[in-house]
Amino acid sequence: MVSQQTKRRLESLGYKLVLFGIYTFSIFPILIVFIMALGPSQRLEFPPSGITLKWYIAAFSQFSEYIQPLIFSLRIAIIVGIIATIFGTLAAYALIRFQPRFVNGLQGTFSAPLTVPQVVIGLALLVFFYQLQLPLGEPALIIGHTVIAIPFVVIFVTTSLKEFDENLETSARDLGADKYQTFRYITLPLIKAGVFAGGVFSFIVSYNNVPVSLFLIKPGGGTTLPMVIFQNLEYGFTPDLAAIAVIQMLVVFIILGLVNLVTDVTEIF
């Protein structure tokens, strides 16, 4: 009896250790970038011999290397977020009005970019722009990122529309609201969480993207921050690169925080 109890205890302890190991595995690689950026040494020290913000200052002072790409990335991600949210929300709203057998096919069409590897999408667009003799650069990047962002918006908004009681719309119409008013004052507030989730996800998808950007950046033109970090990592890294990587990551958390002011983030995810 006692031996069985100790066995149970050992199993329970083993389980807890395994869990601790996995959660550490999950966050440690991200924490270490923070640690690297805070240490005073040019080389990696663990534990760091002190705490300094000089690498952040160094990162911010390299305007054309880091800050310009950051602004470029933000601009593209905001535009992509807006376009993808509008196209995706309208499509999702229309989709649930179709008969079910069409819905599956159309949903498949809208989620198709998710099934194709992003490198393939990037290459296909590069070939497409080349064949049409269109220039690469910002418009091409916005288009490429919007292609991969639309499926997320459609999925998020369709999910929240499915939970939505259609009788509410019917009642609004019966009470004299027109189609636009019904959408604006009844439907939109109720699917707000889904629309926000789609918009935020579109922003993040664009803001973090490498595989599509890789093919569509104009040589010698503006480049995105993930591309800068990606290319620098090939030749080894410095603490100021870690600092700008931390800044890149923090922007996403700040945006999630701002969204949280407008709507409950946990409701989204």
């Binding site: 009005r97 290459l123 490498v210």
Partner: protein, 303 residues
């Protein structure tokens, strides 16, 4: 009197027929809402992929010409031992990463679904979701710091005297570790949907009947979460063979399909061969997703 009744019922029937027809045609009103997104994807996704397919059957790459269709690119892919090795490495990586994320993700998914408070559930879910929400370049950066020759792990190993150092980047191991890390959340979420449906009382019953914890896992949990395991496997497999950034940074010269495509464009500017490679990769990814959707639908579930 009688005729007027039949007349009015005929009128009613006609009216409901028209109403029915209008209902069926009501989707036409939805077309204007649907079309911006649909046209956008048609022009910037479906047509470019079709052009890519065309280019993969050509040996030249001139704007606006589709002539001399040939299988040459595909023949050279499948007769080149380097490509075959890359393809096999990619598929083996897919299986290895999918199996590993499920094995590692299982205790986590179990832990989260069995937590009583929703706040704790949200906290641990966020903890495991962090890699997926973080930018790929940042998390791969972290792995470089850990895995490099003079990195965190090797410094630690030398300090303990256990090893003179292990080579964990610029090879398959680096790619494997990085990808397991990224796709762990996907496996966890996939398993959570299955594990969440299992009644905790079943485990209690098995334990009362004398099963050990591992016995409960082996005879109760695993059989009941088959669906989540299969769905998670296919999803992580598809994502792994499609991934580019992590293998590119941590694999160095060790290539997988996605990085080989870029090499052919970026350094060798052979668009035709790159297109053929892209089509091969795309076909593998689509097959896996279609199978996974089909399995999900046949059991009335979306994976």
């Amino acid at each position: 009197m009688l005729t007027s009744v039949t007349q009015s019922s005929r009128l009613n029937a006609f009216g409901s027929y028209i109403k029915n027809l209008l209902d069926r045609l009501s989707f036409l009103g939805a077309l204007p809402l649907l079309s911006p997104g649909l046209v956008f994807l048609l022009v910037f996704f479906f047509i470019p992929v079709l052009i890519l397919l065309g280019i993969s059957f050509q040996t030249d790459f001139l704007p606006g010409t589709i002539t001399n269709l040939t299988l040459d690119n595909y023949i050279s892919i499948f007769s080149d031992s380097y490509f075959i090795a890359t393809l096999i490495r990619t598929l083996v990586m897919g299986v290895a990463v999918a199996v590993s994320t499920l094995v590692i993700g299982y205790p986590v998914a179990y832990h989260i679904t069995r937590l009583e408070s929703s706040q704790k559930r949200a906290f641990f879910l966020l903890l495991v979701m962090v890699p997926y929400l973080t930018s790929v370049v940042v998390r791969t950066f972290g792995w470089l710091i850990i895995l490099l020759q003079n990195g965190f792990l090797n410094t630690f190993l030398r300090w303990t005297g256990l090893s003179e150092g292990v080579k964990l980047v610029n090879n398959e191991y680096g790619i494997y570790i990085g990808l397991v890390h990224v796709f762990l959340p996907i496996a966890v979420i996939s398993l959570m949907t299955s594990l969440g449906k299992i009644e905790p009382s079943l485990e209690k019953a098995a334990q009362d009947l004398g099963a050990s914890r591992l016995g409960v896992v082996r005879y109760v949990l695993l059989p009941l979460s088959k669906q989540g395991l299969l769905g998670g496997f296919l999803l992580v497999f598809a994502l792994t063979i499609s991934s580019f950034t992590t293998p590119s940074i941590l694999g160095g010269t060790t290539e997988v399909m996605a990085t080989a495509i870029y090499t052919y464009v970026g350094y060798l500017t052979n668009f035709n061969l790159a297109s053929a490679l892209a089509i091969v990769l795309m076909i593998f990814a689509i097959i896996v997703i279609v199978v996974s959707n089909h399995l999900g639908q046949s059991r009335g579930e979306v994976v």
